[in-house]
């Protein structure tokens, strides 16, 4: 057992523990920049603890799918986390083409939540599910184009290789492409984590929500599962962005993990800055933003292919 990936486990645990702080950091940045005091950074931990102790209300309309949705979402998100090489060396689970599984697992969680929303028979939640899958339809190709950039730059088909030493070696020759891909990944992060300019987690009107309105009927521990899965997903996407800009494979493991956590915080702050300086896009403009992200990744590809 000498090659047991202790550091991968450590990094994964660190990310799972730190994840709920990230939305807090983003929100705190936003309130600081807009001259308000804002909620504490650790607010989400308190929310989760409180929700976990609460009771639940189930609509008479719902079936088992409504209860399964959050469980599938969290399980799929956790497995997706295990596919990322968070310590910069290796993932807990890795095989060629695991990037497809990463995207697929996030899709599985989304599918479960969209069905859970439809299960309530509420037109609000149907609308939320419809918007969520619409946004995802344009975010996923952009994400994948970024992955293809990494595949072409590193010559590896597994996330461990794409984010490992080969990426380190690719920087001197493919820097422009990698910068463009990181920019594209950041836009995808905004969309996948439901932040401004795609979605506003702080909006108060159901008609203008995307993700929040989809989970309108979930309460108590179910809602806690969803909120926690959302935080982990934000950490994963932040790790994707930070991993491109900050290849850590050549650092000692402890430094690599510290650098990862620093990277997560920086991305969260960046999200907060974006939220402060831009307003939300009109719903029918969102696909255009994401197509622009795809175009960015497309240019990165062309630079690599030339």
């Amino acid at each position: 057992m000498s090659d047991f990936p202790y550091y991968s486990v450590l990094a994964l645990l660190a990310v799972l523990i730190v994840a709920p702080a990230l939305p807090g950091i983003a929100n705190r940045t936003k309130s600081a920049l807009t001259g308000r005091r804002g909620a504490p950074v650790l607010q989400l931990y308190r929310d989760l603890a409180r929700l976990w102790r609460k009771g639940v209300v189930y609509s008479q309309t719902t079936t088992a799918i409504f209860r399964l949705g959050p469980i599938v979402l969290l399980a799929a998100t956790l497995l997706a986390a295990a596919l990322l090489p968070l310590d910069g060396r290796r993932a807990l689970l890795s095989f060629p083409g695991d990037l497809v599984a990463f995207a697929g697992l996030l899709g599985l969680g989304r599918f479960g939540m969209a069905l859970a929303a439809m299960d309530t028979g509420s037109s609000f939640e149907g609308m939320g599910a419809s918007r969520e899958v619409t946004v995802a339809s344009f975010a996923e190709p952009a994400l994948f184009l970024c992955f293809i950039v990494l595949v072409l730059a590193t010559g590896r088909l597994d996330l461990t290789g794409m984010y490992g030493l080969p990426l380190h070696d690719a920087w001197p020759v493919a820097a422009p492409s990698l910068v463009l891909a990181a920019g594209s990944l950041f836009i995808v992060t905004l969309a996948e984590t439901c932040r401004v300019p795609v979605d506003d987690p702080l909006t108060h009107l159901e008609l203008t929500m995307i993700h929040e309105v989809m989970v309108l009927d979930h309460s108590g521990p179910d809602l806690a599962l969803i909120l926690y899965a959302g935080a982990v997903k934000m950490a994963l996407f932040a790790a994707l962005v930070a991993g491109v800009l900050l290849p850590r494979a050549s650092q000692p493991p402890g430094v690599a993990i510290a650098a990862l956590l620093l990277g997560l915080v920086v991305v969260a702050v960046a999200i907060g800055v974006v939220e402060s300086v831009t307003s939300r896009l009109r719903m029918n403009r969102v696909p255009q933003l994401l197509i622009a992200a795809s175009a960015l990744a497309g240019f990165a590809l062309i630079l690599l292919l030339r």
């Binding site: 009771g55 008479q60 899709g107 609308m127 190709p141």
Partner: protein, 648 residues
Amino acid sequence: MTLLALGLTLVLLAGAAARLLERRAGMADLAFRWGMLTGCLTGIAGAVQALGSPEAAAPTAGPGVWFGLDPLSAWFTVMFLGVGSTIAVYGTHYMARERPRRQVGSAHLLLAVLMIGLTGVVTARTIVAFLAAWEVMAISAWLLVIFDREHAEVRRAGLVYLVLTHTATIALFGMFAAWSGAIGGGTFADLATAALDDRTPVALVSTLGLIGFGIKAGVVPGHIWLPGAHAAAPSHISALLSGVMLKVGIYGLLRMVMLLGPPPVWWGWLVLLLGLGSAVLGVLWALAQHDLKRLLAYHSVENIGIILLGLGVGALGSAYNQPVVALLGVTGALLHSLNHSLFKSLLFFGAGAVQRVAGTREIDRLGGLARRMPRTAGAFLIASIAIVGLPPLNGFLSEWVIFRGLLEAGGTAGTLRLASVAAAGLVLAGALALACFSKLHGVVFLGVPRGTPEPARGADHGLVAPQLTLAAACIAIGVLPVLVLPTATRIAAGVLHEPDTAGVMSAVAGSATAISLATLVLLALGLMVWGLRAASRAREIVRSGTTWGCAFPSTTGRAQHTASSYAASLLSVFGPFSGSRQVMGPAGLAVHVADPVLDRLAQPTWDRVRETAFRLRRIQTGRIVWYLTYVIAALLGLLLYLWWGAAS
């Protein structure tokens, strides 16, 4: 081969028994169901033997000259007969209710004949046998499509199908004529040996083959027969058409590649682009549909596109001499053919059960059916997850293999790297499919019924067992890829004449283990989260209430989000490509759908042709004197032509 022949004989006998015992319904059903089951299983037993062994040297006489089993034929035969057996069981129950009104026995006999025709196509070893089986298949399928022929739209769908299938046949006649004319021989063995020299007109043959087999498979723009025919036929026949018959086109392309040798580079790129177009456009057009079965039919177009992506990258890998890319692409195409036949048949079974229970296929009039038919809803959910290509089911496995082929292409040097961009298109198709099936399952099975409550029309009894069988197959292949992946890779190696497969085989086997492991971990994580959730205090304080309606609780099921509004925001992004038009009425949103190729291109063109022909009819006066004038004019014209030719 003997077992297969025996099995097909049983299938034919079962069909004949169903027709002859028409008067005694119980006995006819019993004979048909068990005859088909034993026949199909016997045939599978025969084909499985051939799956592993390379074909023995072709005999020079006897029936072996006409029909034979090599691993490629066996793969498709097992698929056809396996799915066919569930279709026969489902069909027996499904058609039993039609008995007083219709000659159900004829439908059963035609189904048996169609099964034999399909198996004949994939086992044929000479051009004549192939084309004969092809026509048996095409005609019996047509008769089944127009089974409900008192409806005008069914007759139109049948006509479109008949025209298109014979266009395909003509293309195939042309292909085989050019091919065997150039090399002088009528068996596949002759064609294969001729591949070694330069006499084969490769460009002509591969183009005509792509047209003929592409129309049969439903590749855009040759798909126009498909949605109408699938929607018109009885549901178990839709499952057969979509799950099984489309694969004949894929088989044809694979066999052609196998006989021709490495295809030209342009052909590979063409197939890749056609696949990409079919995958994205198919799912986009599916998203706009209101009819449950038409929606599923357009998804067949999408899945054929995905298979073609695999085939295209395989052909490119072969043409650019990249064996790993080639093997992965063709393996993915083979696997996705199998997987699509399983989950698409399952979806059509579900659609048939929904029609039985709710009395309509109109998606926007359904809702809340999970309470009335929980087992069908569950099986439909499994098929939905599989067709979207989400882990851990079989759809993910085959799409993963194709993705891997495309990404491996990106790792090579030269032009082939461009193929990796197609992976982004495949992801787009997958994401749109997710939107489509969350809509479909959500609107049909979840929520509450829309509109007035339907009278109870019966249940899905007897229709469930075949669904559960197919669902179990989807799960088994997804969880244990090792069941099919090595076999498919070996067959792909045979198709590509690739002798050295050890490297790919070990790589694929390792990934198969990793995927199984990941599935187990996912299951464990799910159980863990479920356990944690069950341990929370909430289970003591569960309340039941109405759905939160933002202070305005809804009183009617009609206030739910409809399928049209679910898809509207996504469709509006694609504008005219979406095959639909949205109209905001005073009290609701209406989405008008039209097939962009059939209704906007083919039909208007044909109307123009017919108009012109009608205008030409004026010369048909019906009087002898005019016809004599035409004859003399033609004669004079010919004389002038001759004179002019001699003079110059």
